[in-house]
C-alpha cells in the first residue's frame, strides 16, 4: 500500500505519472513530495511507487 495525501491506496508498481493521471490530477498544477523529498516533474514518469511509500500531492488554493 502507498500512503497518498493521508490515505492508504493500492498504487504500488505504478509510476507517479500513471497514478496522478489515473486519479484525475492536473499534473501541471501539482507538486509532489515522496518520503519527504520533492520529486521534480521530469522524474514523474520513471518514479515507481513502492509499498510503504508516503506521497503528498499539493496545489495552490486561495489564501491570505
Amino acid at each position: 500500500m502507498v500512503k497518498i495525501n493521508g490515505k492508504l491506496l493500492e498504487a504500488e508498481g505504478k509510476t507517479l505519472t500513471e497514478y496522478l493521471e489515473g486519479a484525475g490530477y492536473q499534473i501541471p498544477r501539482v507538486a509532489v513530495e515522496k518520503n519527504g523529498e520533492i520529486v521534480p516533474k521530469a522524474e514523474y514518469s520513471h518514479t515507481v511507487l513502492k509499498n510503504g511509500d508516503s506521497v503528498e500531492v499539493v496545489s495552490f488554493v486561495g489564501g491570505g
Binding site: 484525475g24 509532489v32 496545489s59 495552490f60 486561495g62 489564501g63 491570505g64
Partner: protein, 255 residues
Amino acid sequence: MNDKLIIGGHEFNSRFILGSGKYSLKLIQAAVKDAGAEIITLAVRRANTKDQENILDFIPEGVTLLPNTSGARNAEEAVRIACLARELGCGNFVKIEIMRDSKYLLPDNQETVKATEILADKGFVVMPYMYPDLNTARDLANAGAAAVMPLASPIGSNKGLATKDFIQILIDEIDLPIIVDAGIGKPSQACEAMEMGAAAIMANTALATAGNLPLMAAAFKQAIEAGRKAYLAGIGRVLTRGAAASDPLTGFLRD
C-alpha cells in the same frame, strides 16, 4: 512621480497586496483589476482530484504570486511548504506564516526568524508575517528578509491598527519595506497605515467579507494611494494646544 515598491530587487507600482482566500475564484479577476494589485497571495494544500478548476487559471498574467506557508507550525514545516510552492513553478516569493496557536492565529516570531534564514539562503524572496516587535524585525532583516510584514490585529478580525505604535517603530527603525498584514478591515485603516509610512498593505478578509468585493477592492486601492501620497507630501504638524488661524489676521471688516 517615480515611486516604486521594491521587494527583493523586483519593482511594483501597486502597494496593495491582495489575498485570495475565502471568496469565489470567479471574483479573483475583478478583485485584482479593481485593486490594481500586482501581487496576490496563495496557500498550498493537498490537491483534490475532483477540482477541475485551479486558482492559477483565474489569476491574470503578470501578477506576482506570493505563496504563504499557512499550516506550518514551525520553521521546518514552513521550509517544506515553501519548497513545494516553488516546485509548483510560479516564482520564488514566499510569505512565511508560522502559527502554533489556532485560537488567535498569532505568528511565532522565533520560528519565523529561523525559517527566514533558511529560505533566504535557498534563494527565496522572503516576506515574513510577524508580530510587530523591533528585536524580531532586526533579526529578520539580518536573516535576509526582503520585507517585514507586521500584523495590525489578529488575522481575519477586521479590527484595524491595534498595534499602531509598534508598527511605527518598525517603519522608523527597519531599513526594509514594512508591509502591514492582517487585521486591516477598512480603507481608512489602510490609508492611516500608509500615512505612517508603511510600504504596502496586505488585505484579504476585509474584501472577502465586504458586501461588494470588487467595489471594496477599488476603495482600498484609492485609500492606499491617498495614504502614500500624504506620507510623501509630509503630514502637517499638530498643535499641542491653542489654534492657528488659516485666514489673514489683518484687514478685518471692522472700525
